[in-house]
């Protein structure tokens, strides 16, 4: 008898090399979703820390060596994720793993030099994915700058449906209205999914009344979302100019994206060398050599009249302070990058508009990929977003022929508590579903639910 694969409850065997911020985050999320995780790190303390906190196996050593990969069970692995701090090490890990196993491999690649070649690397080295947290963060920042009313925007079905999160001001006309009124009084075809109020997360029911400072998530097509926001008096046009504090990699990628969209970019960076490099790369951007923590410089560069301010320095504390200051002196869009997650509750209460957590973005992308990998094992999740971390998630399913959910009007189906059918995509049409609509085979369906870890669309039925 040879035990070639020891599996429990259909989970996948996943090896995570590197127990940094992203590695730990990934281990936690993937473990919760029923996968068998083995973590590898050179530091015994880190491995110890993760393997006592979570139900995962730990291996100490250099994850790029064949011997250590064997100890971690590379032959039985379905997926290896290399997320150490070094790009070269990550790529080497993947190459070595590919030689001894037919598992999928994902590498974190953060250097712009490699990142521009990521398509080539993926193809030539057989990588399933090259994840660049900084790039992903920049993409997300660019998205909210184009649509500044939102705190966060995720997209489904190639951008045909958006999941928009925004905070309701005290004086909004929406305050005092109920969820039902959005359709009946405003005549907007959007679906309100969740409302976060203080520490509560509520799945929106028809009679829920909005209050000031609520954080609302809604699903709609981009056009309808814009219509809705203009009705309730929000700006819907993109910002015209942006001041970025800190000239790191995220700023580098962001600058590139914004310039492409014709948005004026001003970067404040204190390192001369970095300033010169940025200047050479982006001649049309304004590069300021100076300390972003200096009020004089911020005032001189016209923070008061800027369309947006993005705090991207390496220090979370500095970013938060800069944003708090910016919030006092101007009324533009505010984006704050936070690398460490530890005090997210406190940060949420500071009311800082959009907050970007690069490590969460990266792990969300990978978790999404893992879900998609499982499709072959029977689940059919297409994309997945955490709306409220660990509490509410939005997932996109493709409905298969003969599924129990098809053919009946929604109001006749018995759904579990706290489940919302947020939208149905049929061909090119986007439906915001109402009671008499039906789900047909081939539809893409976006479901918002407080049940995490859905595998099949029928999981939402009683």
């Amino acid at each position: 008898m040879k035990i070639s694969r020891v599996k429990s409850e259909g989970g996948m065997n996943i090896i995570i090399v590197g127990c940094g911020k992203i590695g730990q985050n990934l281990a936690e999320q993937l473990n919760e979703q029923g996968n068998n995780i083995t973590v590898v790190d050179i530091s015994p303390e880190k491995v110890q820390e993760v393997s006592t906190r979570l139900d995962v196996m730990g291996v100490v050593g250099n994850g790029a060596t064949h011997a250590i990969q064997q100890d971690a069970g590379i032959e039985q692995a379905d997926l290896l994720i290399a997320v150490t701090g070094s790009d070269e090490l990550n790529l080497l890990c993947c190459i070595v793993a590919k030689k001894s196993s037919d598992c999928h491999v994902i590498a974190r690649v953060k250097q712009p030099e490699y990142s521009t070649e990521s398509a080539y690397l993926q193809q030539e080295l057989g990588l399933a994915m090259a994840i660049n947290p900084q790039y992903a963060a920049a993409e997300e920042i660019a998205r909210v700058l184009r649509f500044p009313s939102a705190m966060k925007i995720d997209t489904f079905a190639d951008g045909r449906v958006e999941l928009v999160k925004f905070r309701l001001p005290e004086n909004s006309p929406l305050v005092g209205m109920s969820v039902r009124d959005v359709v009946s009084r405003l005549h907007c075809d959007v679906l309100i999914c969740t409302v976060e109020r203080e520490d509560e997360a509520l799945i929106a029911k028809g009679d829920l009344t909005f209050k000031g400072k609520d954080v609302i998530s809604l699903v709609a097509s981009p056009k309808n979302a814009a219509h809705f926001f203009s009705k309730i008096g929000y700006r819907t046009h993109s910002v015209k100019d942006v001041i970025i504090a800190g000239g790191g990699k995220t700023a580098h990628y962001l600058c590139e994206m914004l310039l492409r969209d014709g948005i004026a970019v001003k970067i404040i960076e204190k390192e001369t060398k970095v300033c010169e490099d940025l200047c050479a790369q982006f001649p049309s951007a304004t590069i300021i050599h100076g300390n972003a923590g200096d009020q004089e410089i911020l005032a001189e560069e016209g923070l008061a009249d800027a369309g947006a301010f993005v705090a991207l320095t390496n220090m979370d504390e500095e970013n938060i302070l800069l944003s708090l200051y910016a919030k006092r002196v101007f009324h533009g869009k505010l984006v704050t990058k936070i690398n460490r997650f530890d005090f997210s509750d406190v940060v949420t209460h500071l009311d800082l508009d959009s907050i970007i957590y690069p490590k969460n973005i990266a792990s969300d992308v990978i978790v999404r990929y893992v879900r998609a990998m499982k499709n072959t094992i029977g689940s059919n999740v297409e994309t997945l977003y955490n709306i409220i971390k660990g509490k509410v998630e939005a997932s996109e399913f493709i409905v298969k022929e003969g599924s129990a959910i098809t053919g009946k009007p929604l109001m006749e189906l018995a759904f579990k508590e706290n489940v919302l059918i947020a939208s149905i995509l049929r061909g090119k049409k986007v439906l915001i579903p109402r009671g008499h609509d039906t789900i047909e085979p081939g539809d893409h369906v976006v479901i918002v639910s407080a049940l995490t870890g859905l595998h099949d669309i029928t999981d939402v039925l009683k």
């Binding site: 008898m1 040879k2 068998n36 083995t38 196996m57």
Partner: protein, 477 residues
């Protein structure tokens, strides 16, 4: 501390104990014994107590490190407290301390008894004694974790506290799967032994008791002569299986996966060398008195295997052997089995680390600036692990010393007391002189018995969970 969760798990423990008790109940039914009433009554009490505790599910399932330790030590105590009831209800023992001693000795796989004559007690009680060995051998909580989804990742604390050895490594990423695998290996090996015993001419009752006692490395005899009355084939087979159960179960997992180089680890090789050495010396020492080398070797092998695996079965009264043999056997009490097995003692892996640590210390005194790390099987051992081994050993000696002091109040001779402490803390069973293989522990005072009970539990749970339970820091908010 999460008291609700602790009591909740204790409730489950009692429910499982009720299930375990069905086994001797069936035995009583088969032999038509009066004792069936005692078992049914105990089951009823367990179920009732369990129902009270698991009636409400706790809100917070979070377990911290100290909760894990407390759960493990309390579980073993609760298990023994209730498991002792059949002894009282059947009138096998008249004092509760005696009943508790017998039960703790069973669950901790010690096999030390206070019963002068086991052949007069009901078959079902003898079956219960042997069955407690089997339950306790692999660990009760590991078993429960395999069947109950308790509290996610925090389970590791429990496994760590209950598994023998200086460091616990999982076989596979999930605690639950690991537990299932370990119990799977345990179960299959037990069944193989049971079948072999039947083939060798034992009846079903004898074969079951032998299989349970050997698998758990317990060693309760079900006849007064222990294993002395069985054929040489059976004795040798039991001898081999005692060694098998004393080897790290990770080696069997490696075997199943055909990772050949991981089977014979330093620990396993050292263990086998110690066995070979001890058998050699004792055979040399004994062959004149047994007349033939093969006869001497058989008894030497059985006794060495029995003592190093901390089982405690016997074929002859080794208390009558010459001093050299007795001294060698004495060392085996302390060395014990491999980590990750069902056996007790200090564990071979710790002995290996102790010697390597000493060797390094000597080297460092000669070359004061030398940097040297301890490696086992080509892997560096963390300094913290090495330290914990030395601290473990120091604790072992200190507990040993205090226990000896309390036992000496009773007035038995030094060798009796010394071997009584050694045999209980090492979970072996028989000792020398007054507690030799043909004697029992009945003559000790209740206080001494309680001390020995503590020793057995401390020895089985690797000292610290029990020490933690009695330390005020644990209970501070």
């Amino acid at each position: 501390m999460n008291y609700r969760m602790i009591t909740y798990i204790l409730g489950w423990i009692l429910l499982f104990e009720a299930a375990f008790l069905l086994f001797p109940t069936v035995t009583a039914l088969a032999f038509g014994e009066e004792a069936i009433k005692a078992f049914l009554l105990t089951i009823a009490i367990c179920v009732l107590a369990s129902a009270l505790l698991i009636f409400r599910k706790p809100k917070h399932k979070e377990l911290r490190s100290r909760d894990g330790f407390v759960i493990v030590s309390l579980s073993w105590i609760v298990l023994s407290l209730f498991g002792a009831l059949p002894f009282m209800f059947t009138g096998v023992t008249t004092s509760y301390v005696d009943a508790l001693f017998e039960t703790v000795s069973g669950f901790t796989t010690t096999g030390a008894s206070i019963l002068p004559d086991v052949e007069v007690i009901p078959y079902s009680i003898r079956m219960w004694r042997s069955f407690t060995h089997w339950v306790g051998g692999m660990g009760v909580l590991v078993f429960i974790m395999a069947f109950l989804p308790l509290s996610g990742g925090r389970n590791m604390h429990i496994m760590k506290a209950e598994s023998p050895g200086p460091s616990v490594s999982k076989l596979v990423p999930r605690v639950r799967t690991t537990a299932l695998l370990l119990y799977g290996i345990y179960f299959v090996l037990t069944v193989i032994l049971f079948v072999l015993m039947l083939c060798g001419g034992m009846n079903v009752f004898e074969a079951l008791c032998t299989a349970f006692g050997t698998a758990g490395t317990g060693g309760f005899g079900f006849y007064n002569s222990s294993m002395g009355s069985f054929s040489p084939f059976l004795q040798v087979t039991i001898g081999v299986f005692m060694l098998i159960f004393a080897i790290n179960f990770e080696s069997y997992f490696a075997l199943l996966q055909r990772r050949w180089r991981d089977i014979f680890t330093t620990e396993v090789v050292t263990f086998l060398l110690i066995v070979a050495g001890a058998v050699g010396i004792i055979t040399f020492n004994l062959y004149s008195s047994f007349g033939s080398v093969s006869e001497a070797m058989r008894h030497a092998f059985f006794t060495v295997s029995s003592l190093i695996s901390t089982t405690g079965f016997s074929t002859v009264d080794f208390d009558l052997w010459p001093e050299l043999s007795k001294t060698v056997l004495f060392f085996l009490f302390f060395i014990g089995a491999c980590a990750g097995s069902t056996g007790g003692g200090v564990k071979v892996s710790r002995i290996v680390l102790l010697f390597k640590g000493i060797a390094r210390e000597i080297r460092c005194s000669i070359h004061p600036k030398q940097v040297k790390r301890i490696t086992v099987d080509g892997k560096t051992v963390e300094q913290s692990t090495v330290n914990s081994v030395f601290i473990f050993f120091a604790c072992y000696v200190i507990i040993f010393g205090f226990s000896l002091l309390i036992l000496s109040l009773d007035g038995a001779n030094f060798l009796t007391n010394f071997s009584a402490v050694a045999t209980t803390i090492g979970n072996v069973g028989p000792g020398f002189a007054g507690v030799g293989p043909t004697r029992n522990f009945a003559f000790f005072s209740p206080l001494s018995k309680l001390v020995l009970i503590f020793n057995m539990l401390a020895g089985r749970l690797e000292l610290f969970p029990m020490l933690l339970l009695f330390s005020p820091v644990t209970w501070k908010k």
